[in-house]
């Protein structure tokens, strides 16, 4: 139906689409999963799904928002699967990837402002693991990727107010978790 109202534009081949948006998609998935292998798997799955649907996508669609929605939906399933697995394999899931390439709190950044104790990082990551999907996805996009609320809202398919509320809820929980750890440390 839309033939006549489409703006003529150069249509990107799917390979060009991947090249243009791969960093954006991979960045989100990596920061969401904090695990290179999982991010790589979800990355492939995202673009394979997109590949199947690309031909039927209207010419005026927002490609980045569309791809991010696919990636975000897959990260939601990932979280669910992971939580299910975690119930069975509690011990194996306990090791956070703090020593690998993803651990930024390493040597060479030992100025006061960037010092984070291993304990703090562990608490924060562990708490992020327990956040409900929307809070986690919103937090990752706002705090780790620096996206603005309108973009996060588009990606999550919610209002800007909800996007902000998700981030704030997540921050409250993180603050409480740190507060709790601190008082435990003092009590010990």
């Amino acid at each position: 139906m839309s033939a006549a109202q489409r703006q003529p534009e150069v249509q990107l081949s799917f390979t060009e689409v991947i090249t243009r948006y791969q960093s954006r998609v991979y960045g989100y998935l990596l920061r969401f999963t904090r695990n290179s292998q999982d991010a790589q798997d979800l990355f492939q799955e995202t673009f394979l799904r997109a590949h199947r649907a690309y031909a039927a996508l209207p010419a005026d669609a927002d490609l980045q928002a569309w791809l991010m929605r696919i990636a975000i939906n897959l990260s939601k399933n990932y979280l669910r699967d992971r939580q299910r697995r975690a119930k069975v394999l509690v011990d194996e899931e306990k090791g956070y990837d703090l020593d690998g390439a993803l651990n930024p709190a390493d040597a060479g950044r030992d100025t006061e402002s960037t010092m984070i104790s291993r304990e703090t990082a562990r608490t924060l990551f562990a708490t992020i693991e327990t956040l409900p999907f929307h809070q986690r996805a919103a937090l990752v996009q706002r705090q780790f990727e620096g996206l603005d609320y309108p973009t996060i809202a588009t990606n999550l398919g919610c209002s800007q107010e909800s996007a902000r509320a998700h981030v704030y809820q997540a921050l409250r929980k993180l603050r409480l978790a740190l507060d709790h750890t601190d008082s435990e440390a003092k009590g010990a």
């Binding site: 139906m1 109202q5 003529p8 492939q44 960037t114 780790f144 921050l171 993180l174 603050r175």
Partner: protein
């Protein structure tokens, strides 16, 4: 969600305002308020400090992960998987029809594409479907399809009877909508609301309209037989509304010009009950109980009887026909 947890602190200050200030998201007036408040309120000052520290911790933890290797590996694996997928052949042709240029495409599975095209788009298609296929020019099979369409547009044929390839349908929801639309009988119209009810999602009226807007095989799947609840010919956006009118005229459905644009004169149409196969005058008292999903507007008594619909006992359209 937000309302279930209280944002009020003991001092009656809002915790979210402290978070906004810590994140640097507060407006200058809010920021001013927060700074004045924390001078006097010790617990809020502590909270604000905690949120500032948390924000900076998260900032440190968000340093670029620098996983170029991971991205490269994922990209290589993806390229291999995408390359393994072959692109089906699409025989495609533009036909200069009486209602404008129409592009028709067919794969081995069936008709995949019917598209109204402007002169600029005729030679260089701008939509994405071409990325999914290996294109070739029409041939005798597409010529047959064009004959079918020609017969339809001159009223010699009511049903195109094509096999359809649904490769360009966008979602299962859209397939549902299109399936329900395909069942609307020739020479009648229903509403978007009606389709939404038929597929069991009465609130998804706008989504139904969107799904029909991107119908990849119009005419065969008769989205032209779906109209707004007020009778207006929405959906065939822009200049395509004119085409919708022409196609409806082929099927004997009247369209009139109103102050809000082209519309079906609802008051001059019989109302059919799709389940029970009756038809009523539009002023029949039984219609107040009719669900939108059960309703079809029928332009004439002859058409209703031809479809096997019985006249209603209440309003007796066979004795008191519409003018």
């Amino acid at each position: 969600m937000r309302h279930t947890c209280t944002s009020q602190l003991p001092c009656s200050f809002n915790e979210n305002d402290l978070i906004a200030e810590a994140l640097g998201e507060a407006s200058s007036s809010l920021s001013q308020q927060v700074r004045v408040h924390v001078v006097a309120c010790h617990s809020c000052a502590t909270l604000l400090e905690q949120y500032r520290r948390l924000h900076s911790h998260l900032h440190v933890l968000s340093m670029p992960a620098g996983d170029e290797q991971g991205l490269l590996a994922a990209r290589r694996a993806l390229d291999a998987r995408v390359a393994g997928k072959t692109r089906p052949r699409l025989a495609v042709e533009v036909w200069h029809s009486p209602v404008g240029d129409i592009r028709i495409g067919k794969t081995a599975k069936g008709v995949v594409l019917v598209e109204f095209v402007t002169p600029e788009e005729r030679d260089s298609p701008t939509s994405r479907w071409q990325t999914a296929f290996t294109l070739e020019s029409g041939g005798p099979e597409v010529a047959d399809l064009i004959h079918n369409l020609e017969d339809y547009l001159t009223g010699k044929r009511r049903d195109l009877g094509w096999m359809i390839d649904d490769a360009l349908m966008r979602s299962d929801f859209q397939r549902e909508v299109l399936r329900a639309t395909a069942e609307v009988p020739y020479g009648t119209v229903v509403t978007y609301q009606g389709i939404a009810e038929v597929i069991g999602q009465p609130k998804a009226v706008r989504a139904v309209a969107q799904a029909l807007r991107y119908n990849p095989v119009p005419i065969h799947i008769p989205c032209h037989r779906v109209i707004g609840s007020d009778g207006s010919l929405t959906g065939y956006a822009g200049n395509l509304v004119g085409i919708k009118k022409q196609i409806l005229a082929v099927e004997g459905i009247p369209v009139v010009e109103t102050s809000k644009g082209l519309a079906i004169p609802k008051g001059r149409m019989y109302v059919g009950w799709r389940h029970d196969h009756w038809f009523c005058r539009p002023d029949c008292s039984t219609l107040k109980d009719q669900a939108a999903g059960d309703r079809a507007l029928i332009p004439s008594r002859a058409r209703a009887e031809e479809m096997g619909y019985q006249p209603c006992d209440e309003c007796k359209p066979h004795i008191r026909p519409l003018a």
